[in-house]
Amino acid sequence: MTKGLKGITHQAIPHDSAAKHATGSANYADDIPEPVGTLHAYLGLAEQACGKIVNLDLSAIRAAPGVVGVLSAADIPGHNNISPTGLNDEPVFATDRVEFWGQPLFAVVAKTRDQARRAAKLAKLELRAKKPALSISEAQEAGYPYVSAPLKLERGDVQPALQSAPNRLQGKMVVGGQDHMYLEGQIAFAIPGEDEDVEVFSSTQHPSEAQHMVAHVLGIASHAVTVSVRRMGGGFGGKETQMNIFAAVAALAAKKWNRPVKLRPDRDDDMMITGKRHDFAIQYDVGFDESGKILAVDADFAARCGYSADLSGPVTDRALFHADNAYFYPNVCLRSHPMKTNTVSNTAFRGFGGPQGVIAAERMVEEIAYSLGKDPLEIRKANLYPAMDSTEAQENGHPNALTPYHQSVEDNILHRLIEELEQNSNYQARREAILAHNESNASIKKGIALTPVKFGISFTATWYNQAGCLLHIYRDGSVQLNHGGTEMGQGLNTKVAQIVAEAFQIDLAKIKITKTTTEKVPNTSATAASSGTDLNGMAALDAANKIKSRLIAFAAEHWKVETSHVGFLPNHVQIGEELIPFPDLIEAAYMARVQLSDTGFYKTPKIHWDREKGMGRPFYYFAYGAAVSEVSVDRLTGEYRVDRVDVLHDVGRSLNPALDKGQVEGAFIQGMGWLTSEELWWDEKGQLRTHAPSTYKIPLASDIPRIFNVELADWSEAKELTIKRSKAVGEPPFMLAISVFEALSMAVASVADYKICPQLEAPATPERVLLAMEALDGTREAS
């Protein structure tokens, strides 16, 4: 008897932890019971932004209640550095210079967290203060260096093309940063072992890096360090490198006092200490013809990187990789400027620089549209890369399909996607209605915009595109699945388990998804770049297939049938004429001494990238999507509401439509937050003043679109051989929220009859929206 399986691929099943989430029984790092004798560490932070350290007096701390000791740079047996790219520019504890407000200087270890936290406030820092360079422009004026080597992407001959273009526009755009605001903050819990061993429970997307950093700081081998994470309460890129300091300090204290040590910063401190999405200042020069077709683009992307490089190099690279978004630039030159500033070192955040590139492309489209008096959608369509089935796309290296980094776009489905979305959302009629509304209504201005996204999938650091898995089948037929990816809410574990369930044709319930630990799978890549399922799913399938082929060979021999007569059916195995329950086969295989455990491995094929030349194929494939957003804006206050959003997004053949839809909806709202209410604000002394949810406003339930239609393009199938022809989903839909920003821009533009492209800065807070309308109103009155 065989019944259908629950939980194989392409099924919409709930997140594997959903019941635990809902009952409060899902454990996060802070929920792990603390062994007797656990101590608590807390970081002491600089309360000035820039200067040379003259003296740091910690005597009052040592005398404070409950304090066991203080750790500073002198206590570090290994290296006082946790730069993830090996640039040696990121100390655990600052020694001679303070480079940003909130920089960790020392750590207090005490009996309780409260005691450690209070004692950390008692330091006296004497600084020879220097004026900090906080913003991109201040850093440029002060002649600050780049934090890492800039990138140039070039194709064609941009200057002559610009000069001969019938139309040419230059502009500047400022795009703000974003805090991750993961609901679970940073945390590390270290338990010392024998010899040099230490085990760290870290809320991290990158256990192998945390392991490497702990070893590096302690001056020990990586084999002595185990880093584990069952799940995170959100990551979004904020736990790709930013966990390092917490893991390293907790481990340092645990080894020094030979006691378990937990380190969990308060939310305010978390937001001061950890990096954010980079804000950008973008300058563009675009040439185009009368129909709106782009002829040449020359652009500079300057980013506020903070005091050290962290991942700013690859982030600013990815901004350039996406500065074309979905559009073909016949002649192009793009340059990155990763600026050092006296602010926290910025880091990975969903999209990883891509959104800042895409929004620049969309601003250029807007500029062209307003200057030609056309609907921006018309300009978008006119400039799309060739469609997947067109001759240009099929001829590798065809000049019309080339990106600024010389990779051919061969899988573009945006023509069909946009067409469908435009129809289904009734875009044209609604745009007409909105134009009419704005004509007659002075108080409420409306806007609508359809924006596409094309997002490159793969780490641009090619070596990161690898993954491992360790799969065990126990004698009772139950399966334990360990892979190198981490679970931060995206449902990675569920999807990978679905793949294994399908491979063996067993119910998902038979598969135990374990915590991610460096003990099981070594040298893992960060769960980032939307690649978690692509990489780990393939590695898991590889492991499953290895065991499967041994089981098939065994069954054929044992039951004396051809291997072609062994087949996996739901919870059973068909062997010749016999139908055997899966656990029975496993037991028989065990008795016959068949290896029931194996590793799996995967590396993404076809990709290569030469950064010096700015040429290669950094991406295995592209994911696509488009959204239409409609907004209403209050002319008197700049307040607005998102009335309706329609999304059509491409995830190839979805491994789990429920989880994928959840990613699309969640990414959209997070992207909307980035472009609307989430504002990072530093005072003139360099202190971040929006450092908690009371001052930093992420979207609430009442901010989401009044109508929110989200569809997956169910006809799409990955052109490349991805896992089950699915596509990555974590980051691409984040950029769909640019449609909200452009719709706001249209509402603003209505004030001056759409003749001028509003220079709206992001985030478009009610303040920026009102002031942009006032500015346009001014131009109209003046003319």
Partner: protein
């Protein structure tokens, strides 16, 4: 004082907790997580803004058992005497069956990382218990105090709608089933004694006083004028969790019955200083229906359950939500102490930034709000980066008396425009005797520049504050004369 107790008692899920030693800075969330190992409630922000720590607190009000969501992170442990604290762990049925809300959240994919989920479920649970078939707006209102960074909320709202609509109502549920038992248990915990808790803390002796009546309050406060009065703790909780202040002595007045009354006297509404936003809301809306949209944007549900209108006044903040509209309405406050009582116009209470007209030992007793006449035109507006659960950049209350199209009197008060909540007196003066027209309002708005010099800070720039404050004069006119209702009208 006659007899004094030296312990507090409350129900935690199904057990009675008795505490003899409580620190002035001890918070409910730490007690749950560290002391009781109930780790379902999470710490997300420790300032009452994210809702991950949401638990329910039940209390007996006139023999009725009322449950409200609160932020465990800023709820003083010592404030729970006589209450029922319910955590997510209590929601499962006897045989481990899931509550319908939990089931709906799973089925509708309402959790991703799951960290906010217990708090969201507790808020939805509170809604489910008291509101049959809530509208989408009511669901969003119930979730104003809960952040989710993963889902974009849509599946959470779908789950809430499913559980409230697709199934029969009402249903079996732990708190509904246990209601009689809990009532009885809470009645047994009831007492009429004041409570004094003392403890030696890290930075000195700490004492907590919970007066049983106003006399005890006045006497204790007279003896300990430096004690901190705590009503809802939605501000004072942050002194502990964010500024790490040590509080040597605190007095809880949040459950003092004498301060929790709402009365209509003659042509005024009197609200006790201990009345929470949630409790005051129905009467405020009844008396001043036009400010309902404004009131619905104050805090999150958790903050409204705890926070009081009295506290919003007494803490003296220049950006409190209530003072501007209350000043515009002509509210007066009553201050009391062992010396007696006095009454003063609310606007006179705010002397300067951080300085109020309150003598040592004096506490805010009540707020008297005159009811409106038929010819009053009243409105309140709030400008903030995010519509809900945000601190205003600018808040304003308008109250104009208009007779035959002529403005006879004007009271306009702003928050966020000066170091205290402040009346726009020059603008008011300009309006009196003028026709109620857009031109009059624009002219009056221009005068604002003469009497206000707003700050630039992380909430808004000085220029925006001024511009939007002026534009709100036009908004007021458009609303009253043309029925313009802002973005609501666009729907």
């Amino acid at each position: 004082m006659p007899t004094m107790r030296h312990c507090i008692q409350f129900l935690l899920n199904d057990q009675t907790i008795t505490l003899n030693e409580v620190g002035t800075g001890d918070m409910l969330l730490d007690f749950l997580r560290l002391n009781q190992r109930l780790t379902g409630a999470k710490e997300g922000c420790a300032e009452g803004d994210c809702g991950a720590c949401t638990v329910l607190v039940g209390r007996l009000v006139d023999d009725e058992l009322i449950y409200e969501p609160v932020n465990g992170c800023i709820r003083f442990l010592s404030s729970l005497d006589g209450c029922h604290v319910v955590t997510i762990e209590h929601l499962k049925g006897a045989e481990g069956t899931l509550h319908p809300i939990q089931k709906a959240m799973i089925e509708h994919h309402g959790s991703q990382c799951g960290f906010c989920t217990p708090g969201i479920i507790m808020a939805l649970y509170a809604l489910w218990m008291r509101t049959a078939k809530p509208s989408r707006e009511q669901i969003e209102h119930a979730l104003q105090g809960n952040l989710c960074r993963c889902t974009g909320y849509e599946p959470i709202i779908r789950a809430a709608q499913a559980v409230c609509y697709d199934q029969d109502w009402p249903r079996s549920d732990p708190l509904l089933d246990e209601r009689a038992m809990v009532k009885e248990a809470l009645s047994k915990l009831k007492h009429d004694q004041s409570v004094l808790l003392q403890k030696q803390g890290d930075s000195g002796p700490e004492q907590i006083f919970i007066p049983a009546n106003e006399e005890d309050l006045a006497n204790f406060y007279a003896e300990h004028p430096d004690a901190t009065l705590i009503a809802g703790a939605t501000d004072a909780g942050l002194w502990v969790t964010k500024f790490l202040s040590s509080i040597p002595a605190l007095i809880h007045i949040g459950n003092l019955k004498a301060l929790k009354t709402i009365k209509y006297k003659g042509d005024s509404l009197t609200i006790g200083s201990g009345v929470s936003y949630s409790d005051a809301m129905p009467d405020l809306i009844k008396a001043f229906p036009m400010i309902e949209p404004y009131l619905l944007r104050i805090g999150g549900w958790q903050v409204r359950s705890m926070g009081t209108i009295g506290g919003n006044i007494a803490n003296g903040s220049p950006i409190g939500d209530m003072p501007p509209i209350l000043i515009a309405l002509g509210a007066e406050i009553c201050l009391k102490s062992v010396e007696g009582s006095r009454q003063l116009p609310l606007e006179d209470f705010f002397l300067a930034y951080g300085k109020q007209d309150r003598q040592p030992g004096e506490y805010l007793h009540s707020i008297h709000i005159p009811l409106m006449a038929a010819n009053n035109e009243v409105a309140a507006y709030k400008i903030s980066k995010r519509r809900d659960e945000d601190i205003s950049s600018v808040a304003v209350g308008f109250n104009l008396v208009i007779e035959n199209g002529i403005i006879r009197s004007a009271r306009i008060a702003f928050g966020g425009m000066a170091a205290t909540p402040k009346r726009a007196q020059a603008a008011e003066k300009t309006l009196i005797g003028q026709p109620f027209s857009e031109e009059s309002m624009i002219k009056a708005a221009q005068i604002l520049e003469e009497e206000f010099t707003p700050l630039s800070d992380m909430r808004a720039s000085s220029a925006y504050r001024m511009k939007v404050a002026q534009n709100l004069f036009r908004r007021f006119y458009l609303e009253k004369a043309n029925g313009f209702t802002g973005l609501e009208a666009a729907q």
